[in-house]
């Protein structure tokens, strides 16, 4: 592996982290979806580069799956859902953008502090790739807990899963079967969540999850 090879790999993984931050920053639904598609595309590139580096042809399939499903199909489908539900206006954040970004940066720092010593014996490439992957994962979680809208929670979940794939391909040796089954489970999750979105909407006239809490009789005042 030449220095250039690993530099490119770092660049791609780093870009994913950057896009994760961009996802956190968005306050419009369509922009969020677009950036999610970008996230998946960068993932596909990164996985493809790994396939080339590791001479592992099955990783090309992984990259293709990522590109097809998460880069194209899911964003398009979510786009249509958003249009049909008419919720493209705003993303209601529980914590406003600024503090969210700060927390996100702290999480990235934490991921690096944790990962670098743990993987000290590994090659330099695996170490930093894992640190990036953990950061992406934590940012996905952060997105899930700071957004109240169901669609943006779905996006957070999917970007979290992108982080998982990044970690798995970097660690050399995720079998294709696992990748395919993960992809399918994501797809199923997407279908189920999509269906629920419509159901929630039918029932409550909104996809704000606060309405669900109210229906449990437990909305404890303002959640903002």
């Amino acid at each position: 592996m030449t220095p250039l090879d690993s530099d490119i790999a770092h660049l791609l993984a780093g870009s994913m982290l950057l896009v994760s931050f961009l996802l956190l920053y968005q306050d419009r639904m369509f922009a969020l979806l677009n950036f999610f598609a970008l996230h998946a595309c960068v993932l596909a590139l990164s996985v493809g580069w790994q396939a080339y580096l590791q001479r592992a042809p099955h990783l090309y399939i992984t990259a293709l799956i990522a590109l097809a499903f998460k880069g194209v199909f899911i964003p398009v489908a979510l786009h249509r859902i958003v249009v049909r539900l008419g919720i493209h206006r705003t993303i209601e954040a529980v914590v406003s953008i600024g503090p969210t970004m700060l927390i996100g940066m702290a999480l990235v720092a934490l991921a690096i502090v944790v990962m670098l010593p743990v993987t000290a014996t590994e090659g330099v490439f695996v170490r930093e790739d894992l640190a990036f992957a953990l950061s992406v994962l934590l940012l996905g979680l952060l997105m899930m807990i700071t957004r109240r809208n169901a669609v943006s929670q779905v996006i957070g979940f999917m970007s979290l899963e992108n982080g998982l794939i990044l970690a798995a391909t970097g660690a050399r040796g995720m079998p294709l079967v696992v990748e395919i089954s993960v992809a399918f489970s994501i797809l199923i999750a997407f279908l189920v969540i999509g269906m629920f979105l419509f159901r929630i909407r039918e029932r409550f006239d909104t996809v704000d999850l606060q309405a669900l809490d109210m229906s449990r009789g437990e909305a404890s005042g303002g959640e903002a």
Partner: protein, 675 residues
Amino acid sequence: MSVAGPWFLSELAAGCVGWLLLLSPLAILIARRRHGSGLTYGACALASCALALVALLALLSPSPPAAIELAVGLPLGRTILGYDPLGAAFALIINVATALVSGYAIGYGAHAREPQRVVPFYPAFIAGMNLVLLSRDAFSFLVGWEFMSLASWALVASDHASAENRRAALVYLIMATGGALTLLFAFGLLAGPSGGYGFAEMRHAAHLAAAPLVLVLALIGAGSKAGLVPLHAWLPLAHPAAPSHVSALMSGVMTKVAVYGFIRIVFDLAGPPSWWWSLPVLVVAGITTLLGVLYALMEHDLKRLLAYHTVENIGIIFIGLGLALAFEASGLKAAAALSLTAAIFHVFNHSLFKSLLFLGSGAVLHATGERDMERLGGLIHRMPVTALAFLAGCIAISALPPFNGFVSEWLTFQAILLSPQLPQWVPRLIVPAVGATLACAAALAATCFVKAFGMTFLGRSRSTAAAEARETDGWSQVAMLLLALLCLLAGVLPGFVMDALAPVMKLLLGARLPVQSSEPWLRIVPIDSARSAYDGALVLGMIAIAAAATALIVRRFASHALRRAPAWDCGFPDASPATQYTAGSFAQPIRRVFGGVVFRAREHVTMPAPGDTGPARLEVELHDTLWEALYAPVIRLVDAVTARVNLLQFLTIRRYLTLVVSALVLLLIIVGATR
């Protein structure tokens, strides 16, 4: 020695336990059939007989039978089964009692309203206890222990309609779980970092540093099961809640398995003791003995009274064990063997007479539907066989010769009298105090059983239920009479029991008592014939001769003039049963002496106002001081914490997610900080 050879005794015993385990699911199928419960209990009785026989052979054989290793097992340890002398002695003790209790249950269980709640758990309970005694490694020991705890919990909860029983089952479950947990830690410490969970490996591992902790853990773990104060709280709740034959097993047999666990860990596995180990054991045992009998005296519920007496007797057993520890640590092997023999002998005796007494209380409960002694009375006329057997049990538990209770308590006193030989002054000071406590408790126990027998069987019936009682069925009568007979035999021929325990002493202490069966006239000489000796047969003979002579003299020389007078005419010409001496009035002097301190007893007298024709009232207020001081604060704390944590049940999805993420981040921070 036997044709069977010791080599397949372990297989036979394991087969019997397996058969009992198999019986449980079978019993689910047949429990509701007409003879289903009888068949199950009969099969249990047969299995127990077989196990007792196997244990007897294993105990008497010159070399202990080889252990077997099962193919099935837990991932971390091997499953090794087999009797050594200690396990065999306890297996013999518990299976004799279990066989007779099961025989009783053939008759008694037929009256059960919902047999399917009791019958399936009964064989599993017996199997669990036997597995504990059969196991040669910590894992199968704990599996058996838990089997025993959970099966008996299900039996306690079998009549779950009453809130009192549900509470009893809950308290029992909590105590049993805690006890098993401490035993788990004890075994973990014994196994050490190398993790050898077989008893043989633990014996050879040196664990001097951890040994005191092991002692404390064993005292808590086994003590909570056996009923040492202050861990006895579940016992008076749970034992009465179960059906009577199960109470007999729990009180008479299961507590013995706990004693076995303590002996196994402290005497066998933990290595050579230090002298101060005996101090916590002796102090706790002394307190247990005295408090057990005092609680029993205040109790008017027959089964609760018996349960408190179990606490007292466990105290007596642990006094013997504590003495054995003290003597062994100081190298006084003969005295240690005497103390340990006394303790295990008392285990045997208590398993007989406590089972007998619980069975008798079960017969009374079934005949009258009453456990409250204030509503019983006069049953000796209606239930003569039960009364006779119960009387034998009362004499035995009160430690009166020629029954067996006397012998083991006498042996304990002999050991106490040897305490001046101890080199350390602290036990030399404590042991006589414990001895005085034991003497006091023995006298109070006799008082208590005068009350129990007198209020239940003598006098006149205090309720119509008692007046219309019917004698219990044949199976039950035979079982109770056999137990009574065994109590008498063990009291008259104690030398054989003491000799049978010799292999146990050799295994644990490397010494034994002098051979007793070679003594003339069936007497026993624990130390030296110049010092002390007891001859149960002689005492029995003297009692028989004295009784016969008295009868003869009364018949021959007393006035034959007959005078007829109204019965019970001592100043109450038309006395109602309510004017009799009651259990409460019987216990009142003792309550006056001890009640103020131990129970914070108060007596309130409410006099009617002048001109009011209503009766004056005397109310007695008793407190369970231990419960209020130790358990109630814990319960309040748990309630307070759960009330706050309960909020977690009602969060939004997003907040749950936040909690999960925060936990993850926290853990990551810990990982990052500690690296």
